[in-house]
Amino acid sequence: MKYSALALLRGALAAQRNWAQAWRSPEPRASYDVVIVGGGGHGLAAAYYLAKNHGVTNVAVIERGWLGGGNTGRNTTVVRSNYLFPESARLYDFALRLYEDLGRELNFNVMLSQRGHLMLAHSRHDLESMSRWVNTMQMHGIDAALVSREEVGAFAPALDLSPAARLPVLGGFRQARAGTARHDAVAWGYARAASALGVDLIQECEVTGFLKDGAGGVTGVETARGPIRAGRVALAAAGHSSVLARLAGFRLPVTSYALQAMVTEPVKPRLDTVVISPGTGVYVSQSDKGEMVIGGSLDLFASYAQRGSFAVMQSVLAGTLALFPSFSRLRVMRQWAGIVDVVHDSSPIIGPTPVPGLYINCGWGTGGFKAIPAGGWTLAHVLATGRNHELAEPFQLERFASGRFIDEAAAAGIAH
């Protein structure tokens, strides 16, 4: 059923009881052309683009928990493409361009709000670095621009702009097309659209092993609901990629960390842009519900616990209050963490694995949400054609032997 204002009006006559389930929940079949392990944004988007771009509809997405229950539902909903290197700029801006049309594409309101992303400069050195970043980004076609201290004040009047501030604001740089999107809606939109094209979404079904042929190639997955054969298998499991890789018999250059975020109680509109301070590692935006959404540093030890430590929470909140003293009386309502897959150069891995028939999309670390459309698009391409997508070519596992890194630790702007 197409979602529209007319459908809503028709629903009003039926007490809104006319709505069908957004996606089917079928029993898994014995065999598929492609099985994708992980029902978050990247896995669901890959399934959708397999069906939409390549006509491959005999596809299953297998999810241990519920759709979008991992990092897709645990991030701070920021979308942006202000990366430093040309390979990343192309990939992330492709994602942002897909986000700009995603609501229409999926017939599902992903609540994209291009309210801008503002990175603060707290020192002359920050200003000089940002001037270089902005020049580079503009050459790559990204809409980054330097902003003065006065302009920062106009975009985010709640900031402490006094010269005596703990972190004085000297200016910054801004990407106007960046902003936020509703994370759950991105997962649900892709899920609904993929299901409508024939993709089977199998929830509460953990993958416990891999079926292999005599030559060691993957021919399917063992699951809690029995074996499922597949022509090709893809892993899109973010922080749990190493666990699946181990089951399949190979290792990854990944360490899993908990990245926490938190929201305050909802208040009236006070912050109409995303603000990030490299001095504190803190980033803040205000959700459409009115909550201040706050993120910051990783808990810097390996973890699969989906909860953050109080020590990091305290430093993140201290940083937030140094920037926004008027938030000091807000109460934190919820705090949580997602398990992120961090690699040495803070860039993703999208392509084949050492195991024949098995492909992977991982390594997005702390920034996977913004890349969901591009991660899905390029994973679908390699699954359908057997060849890497042009945008994904630089993001292969081989770079960890060749040393051809795309080291975005600086452009990510935060200490992880």
Binding site: H240, S242, V243, R246, R251, L252, P253, V254, T255, S256, L300, F301, A302, S303, Y304, A305, S309, F310, A311, V343, H344, F400, A401, S402, G403
Partner: protein
């Protein structure tokens, strides 16, 4: 919040320590291939379960030591000195 027992200073708050990542990683010989060298530098077991790692009591005695810790519960199973091999409860 973890309570980590420094071998020299006794139990202290997690905030006094920094984590140095996986331990007992053996450096390959100079004849290693690019792939073996990349494996040594970047590839990790990254287990969901018991992990052996090195920690430093940065805001205390400054010493490095080994910890066997569960990555889901964060429970510390064993603490032993840098020169010691895994043994005891954590083996």
């Amino acid at each position: 919040m973890m309570l980590i027992t420094c071998p020299d200073c006794g139990p202290r708050d997690e905030a006094e320590f920094v984590c140095g990542g996986a331990t007992h990683i053996v450096r390959p010989p100079l004849t290693a291939s690019d792939a073996e060298w990349g494996e040594y530098l970047f590839y990790r077991d990254n287990p969901r379960g018991l992990l052996r790692e090195r920690w430093r009591h940065a805001y205390g005695c400054g010493q490095w030591f080994n910890v066997a810790r569960h990555t889901v519960t964060h429970a510390i199973v064993a603490v032993y000195r840098m020169t010691e091999t895994p043994g005891g409860a954590g083996a």
